[in-house]
Assembly symmetry: C2
Homo-oligomer: 314 residues x 2
């Protein structure tokens, strides 16, 4: 195993480190659109962001042993066609930026910062600028992996109460309480803020429906930084036009980019951001560190970090 | 001591509590502008936000024993004329909202949230929305009282390094390090973010000057939620027009409200907010709690909370 194909473009300093430490390997850097079947045949190892592997490519990947996915979401990977291929990903590298992004958007909402910024632009000084606090609020987080746990820890420092939901309700660090996700409807009415971080899997698709939102407080704020397909667009339209809750903050959508003219752009009670929660300059550095860590263990797959169970999909 | 004059308007539930628990007192609620010398003469106790006591009023306050200031800043109080009057204030009630406000504005800046909000308004989806992190940044905080310490604690949860400045450099909870303020110029160049929370006193007025800002990193972000007179407008103009640092976020000013047409409204590298960092609906509740706590101890001034040293001014 010595041929590494990468559709992830690396920085100069990273290439240098690869050359110095991994001289025994051959590297081929190719743009996603320009990968040929010859490249695929050549590769033992494939480094990718994960969206450029199609089921029909798998035939050509005759020698593929290991795929290093430089992101956390595997929704686009043809996992069912990849039996026998070892997969690792970069989960854990999102927790810092996604936590900051989520708290930034929540404070932006409760502190009315966008409005204050607009008032500055027209040189207006609001005399009675009273803003709200997140202190004391109850936050329910769907998904208790590394992002959820880190987010809960920082939210805790703000003086919130945090509940996490996962498959079986197992306890997770930083959460005051965890519940099995099938108890969601029984407890979601307690939350002031609901944050979804779940990945897209067979069991999370359309997991949230109108009923879920009707059970929430009408003052609740819902944030989605997980995957857009946790609910249908029809659900979003119903919730926002009926005003079942106070506000939604969506960073992910069923259709991305969200096209101009999409109905979502019409709502005042919706904040839209362009799937940006995890994107900071530190992203590639952290993903590369995991790749290097695993590449050092290429002769012992089991000792790698972030191994994916192909059957479960995470 | 039984006559309580208040220019602070209280909520119904608070008035009820006063009536139930403090029936032995007489209360007179008067608007600041409508207080007469007769009211002043009548009062043993004065409850005020602190900006409606003038030096020339002190003659009329013949019987005044205790002033409960329902805010933290005493800049407008005629302290030198108040010898023998016991003063308590509401310090400590600002820490939660000011911490949230500061972090909200910092994340708004580094995450470019205002810009993302503007893009939503014109249905534009930015494909490469890469934002910055506060994780790993070095934060220097001028002022290590209850606000500074609380802010440092929450910033710590975000993975920042925090240095606090106070008079003698005494250690304070939640700070990685504290330094005496006279070492400011020797260390301020280490900071990515500088936050001022100092009150206005003889020794803080114009404490920050052009030299201070020239010593900062040119990538530094400066936040002022303390008092505007920590620096002159000339200093602000010089720093922003010369670009000594990357950005300023100012919530307090030498002149408030900042009038339309003020030069500050012209800068792109300045965020202006209308002295709003401490204003949330929870404010009055927390100040009232301190007042009640102290009123229960009205026969033993020394046992009260938040006693002010008239000579020091805090």
């Amino acid at each position: 195993m010595k041929n590494i194909l990468s559709t992830t473009r690396l920085r100069e300093d990273m290439l240098e480190q690869l050359e110095n430490e991994f001289g025994g390997y051959e590297f081929r850097f190719v743009k996603s659109r320009e990968v040929t079947d010859r490249d695929r045949e050549w590769a033992d190892i494939f480094v990718t962001y994960g969206s450029d592997m199609k089921a029909e490519d798998m035939q050509a990947f005759k020698n593929l042993k290991w795929v290093m996915v430089m992101s956390a979401g595997l929704d686009d990977m043809p996992l069912s066609e990849m039996e026998g291929v070892h997969i690792t990903n970069a989960k854990g590298i999102h927790k810092i930026q996604m936590t900051e992004y989520t708290i930034g958007l929540l404070l932006n909402f409760y502190k009315d910062i966008h409005q204050l910024n607009l008032e500055q632009e027209r040189a207006y000084w609001r005399k009675q600028a009273v803003t709200e606090e997140i202190y004391g609020k109850t936050v329910h987080i769907l998904g208790t992996g590394s992002i959820g746990s880190h987010l809960a820890g920082v939210l805790k420092a703000f003086g919130t109460e945090t509940t996490g939901y996962n498959t079986k309700g197992r306890e997770v660090e930083n959460f005051d309480r965890t519940l099995p996700v099938d108890e969601l409807h029984a407890h979601i009415g307690e939350a002031d803020i609901v944050i979804n971080i779940l990945p897209s899997t067979g069991s999370t698709r359309s997991m949230l429906n109108e009923e879920t939102f009707r059970k929430m407080k009408d003052t609740a704020v819902f944030v989605n930084i997980g995957r857009g397909d946790i609910m249908t667009d029809d659900t979003v339209n119903a919730v926002l036009s009926e005003g079942y809750i106070r506000h939604m903050i969506l960073d992910v959508f069923n259709q991305e980019p969200l096209p101009p003219g999409h109905k979502f752009y019409e709502y005042d009670n919706l904040t839209i951001t362009p799937h940006a929660s995890s994107k900071t300059p530190e992203y590639l550095t952290r993903a590369f560190e995991i790749f290097i860590y695993n590449l050092r263990r290429a002769d012992d797959f089991d000792s790698m970090e972030n191994i994916i169970d192909n059957a479960r999909g995470y």
